[in-house]
Point group: C2
Chain length 470, copies 2
Amino acid sequence: MNDEVFPAVAADAAERLAVHWRALAAAELPVVPSGPPGTTLKALPEEPPERGEDLAEILDDTWRTIVPQLVHWQHPGFLGWFPTSNSPASVLAELVTAGLGVQGMMWSSSPAATELEQRVCDWLARALALPQRFAHSCGQGGGVIQDSASSAVLVAVAAALHRASRGRWREHGTEGRHRVYCTGQTNSCVPKSVRIAGAGEAVRVPLLPGTHAMDPAALAARMDADRSAGRIPAAVVATVGTTATCAADPVPEIGTVCRERGVWLHVDAAYAGSAALCPEFREVNAGLEHADSYAVNAHKWMRTGTPCSVLWVADRTALTDAMGLTASYLDNPAGEPRTVVDFKDWQVPLGRPMRALKLWYVMRAHGLEGLRETIRHDVRLAALLAGLIEEEPGFEVVAHRLGLVVFRRDGDARTRELAERLTGDPGVLCTPATVDGRPVLRAALGSPYTDEAAVRRIWSTIRRTAAAQD
Amino acid sequence: MNDEVFPAVAADAAERLAVHWRALAAAELPVVPSGPPGTTLKALPEEPPERGEDLAEILDDTWRTIVPQLVHWQHPGFLGWFPTSNSPASVLAELVTAGLGVQGMMWSSSPAATELEQRVCDWLARALALPQRFAHSCGQGGGVIQDSASSAVLVAVAAALHRASRGRWREHGTEGRHRVYCTGQTNSCVPKSVRIAGAGEAVRVPLLPGTHAMDPAALAARMDADRSAGRIPAAVVATVGTTATCAADPVPEIGTVCRERGVWLHVDAAYAGSAALCPEFREVNAGLEHADSYAVNAHKWMRTGTPCSVLWVADRTALTDAMGLTASYLDNPAGEPRTVVDFKDWQVPLGRPMRALKLWYVMRAHGLEGLRETIRHDVRLAALLAGLIEEEPGFEVVAHRLGLVVFRRDGDARTRELAERLTGDPGVLCTPATVDGRPVLRAALGSPYTDEAAVRRIWSTIRRTAAAQD
Ligand SMILES: Cc1ncc(COP(=O)(O)O)c(C=O)c1O
Ligand SMILES: Cc1ncc(COP(=O)(O)O)c(C=O)c1O
């Protein structure tokens, strides 16, 4: 029955989405909802329905009950956290992926799902000018789509622990001896993934004075001291584009430190990595020739929608040795060549949807030119906003890199109060944070409908709110 | 530009999917493709496009290049592994989820995404007659949607390690002392997740003689011996519905053993758990009052498509203490009540799509009646197939439970040869496996278009293939 109504209801949903996007683009909807906690819970019945309901009715309810209580990440006034931007191409791809409904855990469970993923990961590696050894086509390495940068770190750390323990880890775990290094500026998901991998609290390496970037000499000293104390340095997670200020750890120097000591280097470029699509921002790739693994969230700045985090490794066997599993019901068909890739061995989950279709649609629909233009557009808007802030007496730009502008008012109390007053504003969402112990506001450009007019509107809202404080 | 063409292209895609489903239902497409490894890779250009292309063209290419090289998990002849079945409701929901493009890591990052998830997890807990303490509405516990049963195990084991170590694990990792227990029949994703959690090789507890189920007395003995040897039993993963034969570990007895020793009990009911929708199959829930966590893959037998794995915990603080993270840019807004749920602390990834919409659409569109009818239909088809096999001289049913039928021919070589001959058959996909050291074939009913006629067709293909062997 639902099969028959599906095309009409799906067409209706697509039409509603197009209307929704126009309303977002025109900032006719508030970026944050106003209902208190429990608003949606109260609107939903406590009991699941016994009888099936019409899809059209459920669709209506979505706009009646759910949409008004969402934070609209695609709203032009959305400058919170880092962007998660989508595009018609990505939405179309999710429709097709769900409709085809295949499961790509192994090559043999849907060959095209695996081969398409190999190809688009290679495409993206090339588009980002990553070292060749990260490509499937070069033999040893390759890319895989994870759900998140957090999972990418987890998988990389597992491979690193396996390598550092010479395989002992598979049987005995971390034995409390392995260490993973990052900094206090690293995204909190990194220490979390390290902890989940059983390696305990990640070591926070000191920063280069006056920066938010890891001090490579301090890293080397810390590793050597750990080794002398009987511990085993297993991995370093360097960040290119930290969440608070978009700072970059010095990957070339860190890479040398790691290489000399045989330690795994994972580079988390969840946000900033996409900038390498543009030749003028390729410095974000500096030093990658020393990295063992590298991850970019295409869902942050490449219009794929979430989830779509791409992880590349230089040596795929490090992953598959650590993560591989066997079971008679997962045996490959007799005669299948061993060169075939089974992505189940590259990730935590066994099953997986056909993740690559989305990246394929987005890269083709936008073309590299279109994706570059997205990056450049957002970088221009960030420069515009930073300029407006700098001109304003009593405001200060704390950090400005790529699409991120971090700023504050004169006085911590006033900055904190400004952040509070802006919370819940229907036209703008900035995320408060703390940098060097002082409160700041972060504005991350990247929502698809943010344009120059929106930035000027956002800025006048911030100015007006600040003026009302004084 | 793409915004404008989107409704028409999406409508076209929906129409194509409906045609595709009709072709599948009529078994007009082969269930497995015939191209050798590399077929899709060769069909895709090595370079990503510089210029953007039309969505309509990309859609065409999907059917030209990708669809012919997929294994069709929704095909009536698909009896492989366990099912991953979708439905128009789930596909519609994926379209809307992608289109709305919100990110629900915290309550404040999209309140409705979080509250909808709380509500539908409670709905499903009620529909499955799970113990009340797994419900959000009861205070301490609650459900969360993970991408997979593997991730559910990982998260549960992390919480268990945290609890067993009294929090020491967060800082020092597993220290090589913690043990997690399962059996040799447990899905391979469980030892894999245990390994990734840094707890080393999971201990395989012996089976009750003549069964594929864990021996609770052997579990108790093993745990006590481990404890005497200075090790720390942290968690047991019991399975209800093993992958090879749909066996069930005796959860009531295992629960008692765990409770007496303060050890975390996770129950993996990835496939069989859905059967509890029907009162007549509620025995799959036996003993759950002793479980700390429980997971069911709604994407296996509830028509949601992948990913949609629901994990419930009895005590949510065990999860959030283990997995929680803090960062100034993730601080909750001032004044937000502490009762609000932030799902980032219930999972590995930081970011997450609005996962609950799909479960909401499916539960409403089918109603509990419809979902129960799906289960009963597949169980009836399995009984039909098992009956046909039993009547056939030279064939033997090795196991038959719920929607799974495991069978073999007389003679291991002949069974193995039959499996090989069936590999690549356009009309049927069964997964070979090994049970008690002997080759078998698994037939898992659950693909949405499999009906009585399809089962009879499948069986005659198998019989014909077997006859050609002799
Ligand atoms: C630098 C950095 N790394 C990692 C993450 C976490 O990403 P995910 O949500 O994909 O786990 C973020 C999120 O904003 C980030 O900014
Ligand atoms: C009993 C059981 N547990 C776990 C899994 C793994 O599920 P997932 O792919 O969601 O990780 C499976 C997969 O078939 C299974 O049968």
